[in-house]
Symmetry: C2
Subunit: 223 residues, 2 copies
DNA sequence: AAGTGGTCTAGACCACTCG
DNA sequence: GAGTGGTCTAGACCACTTA
């Protein structure tokens, strides 16, 4: 089943065969298929829906729009979220980015800068690095013309589905990022570095986000 | 089974009855018990061990010592961790703490301050708030005489097992905390506020930690 | 060898969705 | 009503631990 997902035999949003069909295909019992699906659903690779079927998870599903964004308002509920792309350029990868994305140093990467607004104020300044060969043809104009989330667009335009991510958080000061957020240069910011993986634990995105945590916080559940 | 855990019929570290015994006790089949145990094991309430049995999870298990500490070194592996209690006093709860712990405002709480060192340098300054009725008799002396982790001690001394926690992260400056960490007062710190819950979603600890993220970072996996 | 959890099976019955 | 996933059963067999 992982192979069917990775090889794009089953694509995001699509309904996969029923448990009985899969049991026949793989030569196991229905209960075994069920357990396998349970595991993939727990990893957010599949979504079960009683009476309808089992579907390949997709970032195009509105409920998954900001699946990886852990920012919450200190009180009340989140304001309308808006993404404002600022720039998009192709540059050679520096050592750190190349290493994270498993590219050769100096390989071409696309750098995308953007702001995330909640309500009317900018709260996050992101610098996003993408391997140029996978995301060829990504331009500022295309991004500005589409309201959907970045990961939805990556799915639709490039067939790249983000599965999971690893984040590293630090408190820093950064005059440039603070300026983008309308804050003084010495204002403490939450730096969130994220490496995002697609099928097969393959890293395809690395980003650095500066968060203004005055009215929002990063929320994490520990189990 | 949740009731058996919450009522302390099964206590941390203890082996619970076999799947077949439980099936008989609850009048269901062994497969159903298995599924229930699977769920509790996924929540870290139980630990399965093939050939030996199923055990109630415990913070006294060395592998769970720093289960809720997400701090990782920027490179290489973590140095030896040491906790240094600084003070322990009973005070009236302020509004925020009382609210988080579901106590009446002004109810007595124990405030414990401590430093966490990695290698030889302090990296975390914690202020920990505990309901005084549950943790009665906690003193600085007792804490200083025991090397085990706080949550182990809470389990042994007070029968309170921490199940899960919710954290809120911000970047801040705090002159007092920075001083404790040997940093200038304007140094950006990662503020981690944690509310910790025992069985039945009951909050029993609230803490505020200031992290020096110069050589360490807070690591989070997103699924 | 006996007891534990780990995996799998074949089938029953229920709850939900949709034409 | 037909098809889907959701829950449960009773039992077989395997892998691991301990005495």
């Amino acid at each position: 089943m992982l192979r069917a997902l990775g090889d794009r035999e089953w694509t995001p949003g699509m309904m996969i065969p029923s448990e009985n069909d899969l049991a026949a295909r793989f030569g196991v019992s229905q209960g075994t298929v069920r357990k396998a699906i349970d595991e993939l659903a727990a990893e957010n690779l599949l979504v079960r829906c009683q009476g309808k079927g089992t579907f390949v998870a997709s970032h195009c599903d509105p409920s998954a729009y900001y699946r990886f964004l852990r920012l919450q308002p200190n009180d009340g509920h989140r304001h309308r979220t808006r993404s404002t792309p600022l720039s998009c350029a192709e540059v050679p990868a520096d050592a750190a980015v190349a290493d994270s994305l498993r590219l050769a140093p100096g390989a071409p990467v696309i750098v995308l800068e953007r702001l995330l607004d909640f309500g009317d104020a900018p709260v996050v300044f992101d610098q996003i690095f993408l391997a140029a060969d996978i995301f060829a043809g990504l331009t500022l104009e295309r991004l500005q013309q589409d309201e959907r989330s970045l990961y939805s667009l990556f799915e639709i335009w490039f067939g790249v589905r983000m599965i999971h991510a690893e984040e590293r958080l630090r408190a820093v000061t950064d005059a440039h990022a603070a300026g983008r957020l309308g804050l003084p240069g010495t204002y403490p910011l939450l730096l969130v570095e994220r490496c995002t993986y697609t099928y097969g634990e393959r890293p395809v995105e690395w980003r650095r986000g500066f968060y203004d945590t005055t009215r929002y916080h990063y929320r994490n559940i520990l189990n």
